[in-house]
């Protein structure tokens, strides 16, 4: 297959952060016309490696060769000038600016020396339409739109950059299956047009579908580079984890049988006729103790907002939310005290990145753990226990969250609520950005909680996540609950159909 010389090569690249060897002795290459996937556990070093390619990390050991010439990137501008664009895992958008401008960040087109606004708007509309987001008004500030649109603007930015090499670091983590599918096709088209793409994802299905070659990283080392056609998910997982592992996606691939074992018990949470303009309409549901209720919907269907409402963050215009028969009231504090726990869909929203893990974990529980005067050793001990339970790596309560890899940050957000098991646990996208192993761990935790009597409301736009643990599944679309699956075998396709009607197809 040595038709072309590699567009880019890495030789013996290594990088350490303080005490952590994030990468060691990496050899890697990307060719024109290929999609090269990069997989590995959380913290394996994928993002670090790509940041070196994109000029974000200028101090590393080893050599980088671009189009046959050795280069040493100084900064992102340098990389962009060479033709390397990156979609970052941690969204790097500017919510205050318009959607259009976010797409043209840093390279606003000029005409006659001045910024050509009409062209910006025109082209932004065109590319979003191509990505299936024609309904977005590109003249509005990005902050008016949900996370998926934020991610999309980043993708659009990279796609329109004209770069030779486009790096996508978990580009689909906030996208719905249709949008993902659009993106994957676009990605293939890019490769066909002679560009090179490095594609990072924890969705091995996407990887095997889109990639020509796959490189597996583990603990900062390259384990293997394989032809995508000559491998399968099992092999990839084995290489990633370094062992045979129960592979949770398998558990539902044939569909998941949902059974409602709790219908007889008193519901712990009752939502009645909940309505809020532009958000949701007449939503009703019941959650029983010990039950895991899946709530599936496409981005923008109101399911995340429903979670917020249960936690007291959104005031409904009509309807009631009853916890053990009494209204939950307004504000997170009351919700927490009444036994509601909540994980928001975006970890950035819920975490204090610059603060140590233990402060992130214990903040809701300061009163319980240590009364008026915080006692740090007790906080640390409590934190140590819960982060070990969810498998945060490294399990050091004193470490600042910002130094954890993306997936491990997400685990911290969940670990917080294990300090005092809640009565109702509302989790939105609990496994976003997690590797296959970690996803399974989180699902295990949710199952354990439910077995201990916690009612879990599992909200997601990833069918896999909902299918992995739910005992009953509700589907929301356009702010309404459109379907309930109970006592039957549900497949991903069914979920998609229910959520989007005829639009849905398997990806």
């Amino acid at each position: 297959m040595e038709t072309t010389a590699p567009l880019l090569e890495l030789h013996h690249v290594a990088k350490r952060f303080g005490g952590i060897q994030a990468l060691s002795d990496i050899d890697f290459d990307v060719r024109r016309g290929e999609v090269h996937a990069l997989v590995g556990e959380n913290g394996a070093g994928k993002s670090t490696m790509m940041k070196i390619l994109a000029g974000v990390i200028p101090d590393y050991e080893g050599e980088m060769v671009w189009q046959g010439r050795t280069v040493r990137l100084k900064n992102p501008r340098h990389a962009l000038d060479l033709g390397i664009a990156m979609i970052h895992q941690e969204l790097s958008v500017m919510p205050e600016l318009t959607v259009a401008e976010n797409i043209f960040l840093g390279r606003q087109p000029l005409s006659g020396g001045v910024v050509d606004w009409p062209r910006i708007f025109r082209e932004a509309e065109a590319i979003l339409a191509e990505l299936g987001f024609a309904h977005v008004n590109v003249r509005e500030p990005l902050e008016r739109y949900p996370l998926g649109v934020h991610q999309l603007t980043e993708i659009a930015r990279a796609l329109t950059s004209g770069a030779e090499l486009i790096i996508m670091d978990e580009p689909t983590s906030a996208l719905s299956p249709m949008e993902t599918r659009h993106l994957l096709e676009l990605t293939r088209n890019l490769a066909r047009a002679g560009k090179a793409v490095v594609y990072i994802s924890h969705f091995l299905e996407e990887v095997t579908w889109v990639a020509d070659r796959v490189t597996v990283l583990r603990d900062g080392r390259k384990i293997a580079t394989l032809e995508a056609g000559a491998t399968d998910k099992q092999e990839l997982v084995r290489l990633m984890l370094g062992k045979e592992a129960a592979f949770f996606e398998e558990s539902y691939m044939g569909g998941r049988t949902v059974v409602d074992r709790h219908a007889a018990s008193e519901p712990v949470l009752v939502v009645e006729g909940l309505t809020r303009p532009r958000t949701f309409t007449d939503v009703r549901l019941e959650l029983h103790p010990g039950e895991i209720l899946g709530l599936y919907g496409l981005i923008g269907s109101g399911h995340f907002e429903l979670g917020e409402a249960v936690y007291g963050l959104l005031k409904p215009a009509a309807g009631r939310i009853l916890l053990e028969g009494r209204p939950v009231g307004v504000g997170p504090r009351r919700a927490i005290d009444r036994g509601v726990a909540y994980v928001p869909p975006s970890r950035r929203t819920g975490l204090f990145l610059e603060k140590p893990i233990y402060q992130n974990v214990t903040l809701p529980w300061l009163a319980q753990i240590s009364g008026l005067v915080p006692q740090i050793p007790r906080e640390v001990a409590v934190t140590d226990e819960v982060i070990r339970r969810v498998g945060v790596r490294p399990p050091d309560p004193l470490k600042e969250v910002v130094f954890l890899s993306g997936g491990n940050q997400q685990k911290v957000a969940i670990a917080r609520w294990l300090v005092e098991p809640p009565k109702v646990f509302v989790v939105s996208e609990p496994t976003r950005g997690m590797d296959v192993g970690a996803k399974e761990e989180v699902m295990k935790i949710l199952r354990e909680l439910s077995q201990a009597g916690v009612g879990v409301l599992l909200i997601s736009s990833e069918p896999e996540t909902v299918l992995a643990a739910s005992e009953r599944i509700l589907v929301m679309a356009k702010g309404r609950i459109v379907r309930e699956f109970v006592g039957e075998t549900v497949t991903k396709e069914q979920l998609l159909h229910a959520a989007a009607g005829e639009l849905a197809e398997a990806r």
Binding site: A54, V56, N75, P76, R77, L80, D81, M86, H88, L91, S92, V93, M94, P95, E96, L97, E101, L105, G106, R107, Q108, L110, G113, V114, V115, W117, E143, R144, P146, L147, H150, R157, P277, R278, T279, F304, E305, E308, L313, L314, A317, P344, P345, S346, R348, T349
Partner: protein, 327 residues
């Protein structure tokens, strides 16, 4: 912040657009309310002459405010602007008294201010000292230089250009107002229609992301501090013409008003949000407030108090229109 629900309670599209617009224009309503208020309480307020007066009075603030808008948009602050203005005025007068041929005293004044602004920029952007502290030190340096050059005296020899721009008229309009309008206009065009202007917004909105998008954020911050100093210098050079003299503290007291006007208009201290149109509204609000209180007869011992109360009322009023923002 992402995924945060937005409360737009109304479903009708047109009404929503109107509401959104009126929110954006909240400071304009506040301004109108103030104008109404003073028109009722004073008969000399709502006259053409007084309108011209208000423009004269905010002109210097406007020149400084243009630079401050740039600075705040990048989430920095500049506490030295008013002292820079004084300093530039002193330099211009000092070299005029020293018989340097015109227009070199003015050039020297602007260069000197620009140089101090560059130090602000390097301290902030390269060394990473909080701009609050660098510019605080710079305010002492600028103020110290003014004192040192004048040795406490007032300088009355001014560049003729300063006199013209500060006190002269053309077609019945004060040059001062024209200079201010041009400064604002140039500022607006730069911010809105040049790449540099967009980089300013990007740097303020999310410096890390701006860097990832290839923006030389350090360069932008440095440039912005220089712009802040240059507009301050211009204000000083024109301002001495308005006052007819250069004193070692002439414009020092304008600091809080200048930053206040920009913030009042709606430009955020946390960067990325705002612009020159907002600054203009803020300037007018402040100008009307200060002017209006000179047009009504109030107990002089209550004037400061009343100014404060009306300002607070205006802020609350503003919020009623704009809707509650993040604390």
């Amino acid at each position: 912040m992402a995924n945060e629900p937005h409360d737009s309670p109304n479903p009708s599209g047109r009404w929503r657009t109107f509401l959104a617009k009126s929110r954006e224009f909240a400071p304009v309503w506040t301004l109108l309310a103030l104008i109404l208020f003073f028109s009722v309480y004073s008969d000399s307020f709502l006259t053409l002459e007084n309108a011209a007066n208000i423009l004269n009075q905010v002109a210097l603030l406007a020149i400084m405010g243009t630079g401050i808008t740039f600075v705040l948009l990048t989430a920095q602050i500049d506490l030295s602007v008013s002292y820079m203005a004084t300093f530039a005025g002193v330099v211009a007068a000092y070299y005029t008294a020293g018989h340097l041929p015109q227009p070199w005293p003015i050039v020297a004044a602007l260069l000197a201010a620009g140089a101090l602004g560059w130090i602000n920029g390097v301290g902030t952007a390269r060394l990473g000292i909080p701009s609050f502290m660098v510019t605080l030190a710079m305010s002492l340096i600028a103020s110290g230089l003014s004192l040192y050059l004048t040795r406490g005296r007032i300088l009355f020899d001014l560049p003729p250009l300063s006199e013209t721009l500060g006190s002269g008229r053309i077609l019945g309009v004060k040059w001062l107002v024209i200079v201010a309008a041009l400064t604002l206009l140039v500022g607006h065009l730069v911010l809105k229609y040049t790449r540099f202007g967009r980089y300013v917004y990007m740097t303020g909105a999310n410096p890390k992301a701006a860097e990832l998008a290839g923006v030389n954020t350090r360069g932008v911050v440095t440039a912005v501090m220089v712009i802040g100093a240059l507009t301050a210098g211009l204000a000083g050079v024109v301002g001495i013409g308005r006052l007819g003299s250069a004193t070692p503290t002439a414009f020092d007291g304008m600091l809080i008003d200048a930053i206040g006007a920009v913030v009042l208009g709606g430009t955020s201290l946390f960067g990325g949000v705002g612009g020159i149109p907002q600054t203009i509204v803020g300037l007018l609000i402040l100008g009307v407030l200060r002017n209006g209180l000179d047009q009504v007869s109030v107990d002089i011992y209550m004037k400061t108090l009343i100014t404060g109360v009306i300002l607070l009322a205006a802020l609350v009023f503003n919020i009623l229109f704009a809707g509650r923002k993040e604390a």
